[in-house]
Structures are given as structure tokens and as C-alpha cells.
Symmetry: C2
Subunit: 154 residues, 2 copies
């Protein structure tokens, strides 16, 4: 079972966690550095959701490092069930946050031309934050699917 | 296997399909009856995604009726694989459309107060369309999970 790419306690699993963590942190930084983001609910939700994703991925990355260093097995049914629940919840929250932020970015950019009319609006940073959130979600969804598969095969 | 609630060719499966179809059609009608919805990308995407969901659910509801009437079994691996792919694709598209429409509705209503400032804007219909889209997605996600479970147990 340890051969399944992306499973906990493997190098591929650790790299998925690092990918989630890096893109979630980048999304949080890009949103937080955009002036006046707090006036928009979608970006407040994005920062909260990406913060949760970054914390969860950091915790799991530390656990993967520990398992790799001390050659521990993380494939017990209880642990994998916990990973499945956590991964699915964070993946769904990340996807919802990314989609709602993308809806607002497209509205600003294409529909009401707020980006062109108001040069103060940090559209570039909002776009960067949304793109990073989608990338973080892609890694998170991969982890969630691998965990579900692992649980099914336990 | 036929006892699993929500599986194809059963009354519970048919009721899930009818739920998806009714709420997707309600969402399409609410969006289409909102004046000027075509100016907003999120609502154009919502109408396209809910149209696809309604067509898919209508097709599967007809298939369920046929299976119930002539007592056919729809649990072959090929059919269930097809249902899994179709259900997951429509469920993910529906969720993305619902979230982006919700992001825009919340922006209009709470962040830029467009609903209060512009009484012409059909905010009530946009809210109704988004709520129906989320309900349709909830039924669709249930079907997708049941199909995935069926495929795993085949």
C-alpha cells in the first residue's frame, strides 16, 4: 500500500502537502497585500479558507516529515479516516472560496469594468490570489482523492 | 446491490433525479427572467451549467423510469462508470457555478450595496436562482457519491 503515490508518510505525499501549503500561503499574502480587500466578503472568505488550508497542510507536512524520518507507518484506519475528513472539508471549502473569488474578479474585470475605471482597485493581486487558490485546491483535491482511495482499499 | 438508496433504476434514484431536474430548471427560469442577467458572466455560466444539469438529470430520470417499468437492471460496470463520470462532472460544474453566482450576489447585496442603490437590479431573482442552484447541487452531489460507492462495490 505504501507505493500509492501521494499517500501519507511518503515523499510524494509530502510534496503534495508542500504544494498546497505554498500556494495557500501565496494566496493569503496576495489577498492581504491588496488594499481594501476587507470590503469584499468573497476575499475575506478566501483568506479564511486559504489560512485553514495552509494550517492543515502544514500540520500534515510535519507529520509526513516525522513519518519519513522515523520510518513510521501512517496507514491505520483511524488516521486515514481523519485525513479523508480533513482533506475533503478543506478541499471543498477551498474550491468554494476560489470559485466565489473568481466570480467577483471576472465581474470586476469583464462585466462592470471596475478595474479600468478605478485604478486604485488592486485587481492584479485579486487575480493572483484567485489563481494561487485554484492551484492550492488542485493539490488538495489530489490528496483528498488519494486518501479516499486508500480508505476504500483498507 | 439494488437496496442501496439512490442507485439507478430505483424509486429513490428517480426522486434524486427529479429533485436535481426541478431545482436546476427553477434556477434557469429564475435567471432567465431576471432582466439584464446576460451582462454578468457568473449568471451566464450559472444558466449554462444548470441547463446541462437539467438535461443530464432528465435523461437519467427517463432511464430510471424505463428501468422501473420494464424491471431492467442498470448496475453493469460500463453503465455505472458512465453515470459516475457524468454525475461528477455535472456536480463539480454546478458547485462552481453556484459558488461564483453566490460570490456576485453577496457582493451586490452586502459589499457595494448595488441592490439598494439600483432598484432595477433583479437581486431577488439572482438570489432565488443561486439558492435553487445550491439545492440542485446538493441532490447532484448525493447521486455522485452513491454512484462512486456503487462503482467501488462492483
Amino acid at each position: 500500500m505504501r507505493e500509492l503515490a501521494g499517500s501519507p508518510g511518503t515523499w510524494s505525499g509530502l510534496s503534495l502537502r508542500v504544494g498546497q501549503l505554498v500556494f495557500a500561503a501565496a494566496s493569503v499574502c496576495a489577498t492581504a497585500s491588496a488594499l481594501g480587500f476587507a470590503a469584499y466578503t468573497a476575499f475575506c472568505y478566501l483568506i479564511a479558507s486559504m489560512g485553514l488550508q495552509a494550517l492543515w497542510s502544514l500540520g500534515l507536512a510535519c507529520l509526513d516529515c516525522y513519518a519519513l524520518k522515523f520510518k513510521k507507518d501512517l496507514h491505520s484506519a483511524v488516521l486515514v479516516s481523519l485525513f479523508v475528513v480533513g482533506d475533503w472539508v478543506t478541499a471543498i471549502l477551498s474550491f468554494a472560496a476560489s470559485c466565489s473569488a473568481a466570480g467577483v474578479v471576472v465581474l470586476f474585470d469583464r462585466d462592470i469594468y471596475a478595474c479600468r475605471r478605478d485604478p486604485q482597485l488592486p485587481c492584479g493581486r485579486f487575480e493572483l490570489a484567485t489563481a494561487c487558490a485554484f492551484l492550492s485546491w488542485a493539490f488538495s483535491a489530489t490528496s483528498a482523492l488519494v486518501m479516499f482511495w486508500l480508505l476504500a482499499s483498507l
